[in-house]
Amino acid sequence: MVAELDRRAAVAALLRQPGDLLVVSGLGSPSYDVHAQGDRDENYYLWGAMGSAALVGLGLAQARPDRTILVVTGDGEQLMGLGGLATIAIARPANLNIVVIDNGHFGETGMQTSHTGLGLQLERVAEACGFAECGRAARPEDVEKIRAGLRRKVGGPRLHVIQVKAENLPRSLPPRDAVHVKNRMRQHLGLQVG
């Protein structure tokens, strides 16, 4: 039995030396985890639109094939967008990484057990859809492998699940102004704002 990973430490390891990564975070704890590693213009935090994170990542990946995109989301959020995994697999963006921080629970709403907590494996769903690379990380060295491989092209999208402890950590709240966060990412990319 491996010791369970702490989600904040796992996301910190994933975002070590982020360089020019463009990051999209799913609502709830993944947005807090990403924000806790330092607010960046290159981050887009979602506070709602559950099920959208990976698909916002797809749009961004198609718009900017020159950049590496990382979506950090939770098991509940990705479960709501299961069909989106099929859409992403068919679109086949080679610069899109999806990392699901999987605590097996709906952490924001009272820690009810989620489908993944009852046995569903999202990396196998992604594999069946046709993702180019899928995996499950349960140890720090597995997370480091994901980080090291983010920019490696494997001919299509990747989805990795990082298995973490179910716990509610102190919240690190990103800005809730969706227009502001949009504009600063666009500004960072040299696009017209306003």
């Binding site: 198609q62 967008g81 069909g83």
Partner: protein
Amino acid sequence: MRREVAAISFYRSGMSLSQITMENPAESGPEPWPAMLHKLLRDAGITNVAYVPDAGHARLIELVRDDPGMQANVLTTEEEGVAIAAGAWLGGMRSILLMQSSGVGNCINMLSLPVIGRFPLLMLVTMRGEWAEFNPWQVPMGAATEASLQAIGVRTFRADTSDALLETVAAATIEAFDGDQQIAILMGQRMLGIKKW
């Protein structure tokens, strides 16, 4: 033949009014508006099109898929396209969304994203359940489409002729992509013709 029977037989023929009023219908090609719409979208800088198919969008989808300058995303459900359009805009790409009216119901919560983030959104919605509809299951969502969109904060425009459609799309691309508006264009079922069955 009683008048009602004549009307039903006209509707079931799958012909639009413009086809039957042409002098020589055998020589008429396919409707020209999908090709004009495709060109209009290209000229407006739209390079990404997400869709759930509908018979009314079929020709446009073919044109988009055959266009090397456009990326086409086939969706499993319509709200995926709302999220893709937001992500594309973050990266500087113009994306639009094609669906039929039944798909609008699937999109409602996802529309929070473009509404609260003022992301440009342009949805081309083919209406069902409003004109010579053979399938009563299309009626409830068809009747709720416009009110649902307006309730979540998306502006709606109707287009009931192909000329109005082209004009409205041209205006809406400017409002959406230069003015950060969220817009749905409802394409009347009467214009699209009767579904062959």
